[in-house]
Symmetry: C3
Subunit: 319 residues, 3 copies
């Protein structure tokens, strides 16, 4: 990782959204409130606003992603912005242009924001550090580092159901070590006052020692989920299963999957979340994913409003 | 095929457009009239309307298609809607997400309509049956089942030239067995009162017995086209030619292609149609495709207006 | 090359933009002035205009291109037009449809303009010659023939820095023989009165004899750049290097690359240009590309305004 730049400008305003780490509670709450406000203003996403009319948003996705790219695309369109979806495979990076030359070219065309997803941690920050204009960078997921809008949409969704963050017990289960979602969730939940955060993973996929000092680390999901008010299940990348020496998906599900039976050991009405896309029968049972305690589709819906809020926060003040 | 759902809601309004089969004459005429009206309102497609402002249309194309996807895209844009072109190859289906999870995710982002093309018959209906929101599904072609907007644009084009549907003789020639276009055309033409519909195909590509009870089945194109007022030529999929034991494109053209010479056996001023894209010299001679009796480009033009009409019919009442 | 058609209509108005060859000085100046005007009206590209509301622009790119396609896309969007980005690889040309059938189909859907890039010289003109509607064709680069908007943006950028075109000495260096950029630049610079244009290339990549009668031809870059006021560096296609019998990129840079040291032999404050994307360390040194004399990013910025001007010139009069 490269040396860090600040997400804030000299007057303390948010200039980029690279990570939730270090963001103050007030700032996170303001973003959530703005998301709720934009949901109301846009009548649940059915009314086009013109808050960002004239703005140009560039989606720079170096990894394929259905939901995140579409969510940002809709967020930008519903704020009245112009969107350029930059398909990396087809682009001049084919011709060997460097990443920064691509970015500077798009800045020269007056891009107002870059939404960046990349498999390498630190790419959005790297781009932010080398910008030559006043453009904003929004991290849409970088390696195992951060996925800040996911963290925001998760706490927004949670807040719509539970007000007492201080007393909630949450368990996050899966490949914690490589999960940008887990990292951003822990930052968001911690900033909002949650004290009992349990991270559960196979030993080989557990976080590095000292990585999450404020969290309990578990390898036994049955122990971790006992009494939990919220269970956040992480998507299993198939190639990680081998690294964890787990012989099959059935075996993974047996040990780390959320079944209806296991969910009964959590608190009554324990809320179930997942960033998607889900592997049914691997990290979560179909009847749980589709069941009454699941917030998975609410997370998706809130994703658009959180991204509208982030874009509005970063760009609306400029024009 | 799965058990069927109704395209109509409880109050008899069109909720999805999956097939023309069973649609009443009045409903089809109303869609054609609306298409004409939208053509006038949009001044032939040069003026953007705001009938669907705030609506989100998702193009879910699992098969490549130039004209149909672009036609739906333009139809939606010219009604003021936001369009998400969902490139299946690049999407999270890469990650193994199921079709329905993709659809439910897009519903959660407030998609108002899904325009679906898929090589398997029944996919649009399958999606419609599992929707969780009030979204509409428009079938943009599914396997050999149906292509309802093609059927509508074909009768709209025909109506612009001939009023006397009851007396017209039409021949549809090509791979009838696998053609969703033939099926939707027969439904549309039948609903509008056409009585003499001839289907002509090589024996191996003829419809299954009893499939089109109201039509005459021919294997000899010269006999089928005699006295026809309309000839609808179907695109030949090259792989079907082998199934039909036809050794070459030249041989296919000789037996089932529409040449200028063969067209002389039809009625004077016989109208020539083709859903496109055409194989010149295979199912249709170039001079016929480009000749004065050809309506092929009028079909394309009407396609946009028919799709505007279908989108407006399904969505405009909601907001 | 096919026989030429006129870019002008009967009343002398620009109908297509295929080449700068033969365009009068007054017409080029009018396009540059309109670009400046649109820059002001759109407040540097941050305000959406509605000059082309209701128009449909089709980007027909048969070659991959980041900057040119995105630049045209943004230009059209910022004028309020609808844009169809036609991805050739995914399109029905897969199904064997001919180029002209694709074009006629899009015309039937009421495309107002086609922005065409193709690796074969003459394709935009070929399309223009076979149009059936009043649509305009804008050449976005065809083979080694022409890249008129690049020529326009280059002289626009130059004019923002130097008024005395008649007295400037310009050197264009690289693969002159195959360069559409060099050709369009020479036409634009010549029309604006520049008299001392030097073309420098390895002998194998030099222009055919008589191709640029008004230019000096050089093989020695040190001689060519002596006293130059402007250096336009061309992108080296790697496969051309072998044709030129140059054994390595380092060798090419040594002989034909623009280093800081070589730049010192030019006139003081010699302006440095490049159409991009650049090969750092091949045809241009990084410190020169990023240095104070480089106009490369200004060229990119002007590209959007020049394309807005061309679209407006060709289309705005119609509605």
């Amino acid at each position: 990782m490269n040396p860090s730049i600040s997400q804030l400008d000299a007057s303390g305003r948010l200039r980029h959204l690279l990570t939730l780490e270090g963001l103050l509670r007030e700032r996170i709450l303001a973003l959530l409130d703005r998301a709720e406000d934009l949901r109301a203003q846009s009548r649940g996403g059915t009314r086009r606003l013109d808050l960002l009319a004239g703005c140009t948003i560039v989606n720079l996705f170096f990894e394929p992603s259905t939901r995140t790219r579409t969510s940002f695309d809709l967020a930008a369109q519903r704020l009245g912005a112009q969107v350029i979806n930059f398909d990396i495979a087809r682009s001049s990076t084919v011709k060997g242009e460097t990443l920064l030359d691509t970015v500077h070219t798009l800045e020269a065309m007056h891009a107002d924001a870059f939404v960046v997803r990349h498999k390498e941690s630190g790419t959005p920050e790297y781009i932010a550090r080398h910008l030559r204009s006043g453009a904003a960078v929004l991290n849409a997921g970088d390696g195992s580092h951060a996925h800040p809008t996911q963290g925001l949409l998760d706490v927004l969704t949670l807040r719509q159901h539970r007000a007492d963050f201080e007393n909630l017990r949450v368990v996050i289960c899966g490949d914690i070590r490589h999960s940008r979602v887990a990292r951003s969730d822990v930052h968001a939940l911690g900033a909002l006052g949650m004290r009992d955060i349990r991270l559960c993973a196979p030993p080989e996929l557990a976080p590095a020692p000292g990585d999450f000092p404020q969290c309990g680390i578990f390898h036994d999901f049955d122990a971790a989920i006992a009494g939990a008010d919220v269970a956040i299940m992480l998507r299993l990348q198939k190639e990680r299963m081998q690294a964890a020496a787990i012989p099959s998906e059935a075996e993974y599900f047996q040990r780390y999957g959320l079944s209806a039976q296991r969910l009964r050991h959590a608190a009554p009405d324990c809320l179930v979340m997942h960033p998607g896309p889900i592997n049914r029968g691997v990290e979560i049972a179909s009847d749980v994913a589709d069941g009454p305690q699941s917030l998975i589709l609410e997370q998706v819906a809130n994703g658009v409003f959180v991204r509208m809020a982030a874009l509005a926060e970063l760009l609306a003040a400029r024009n």
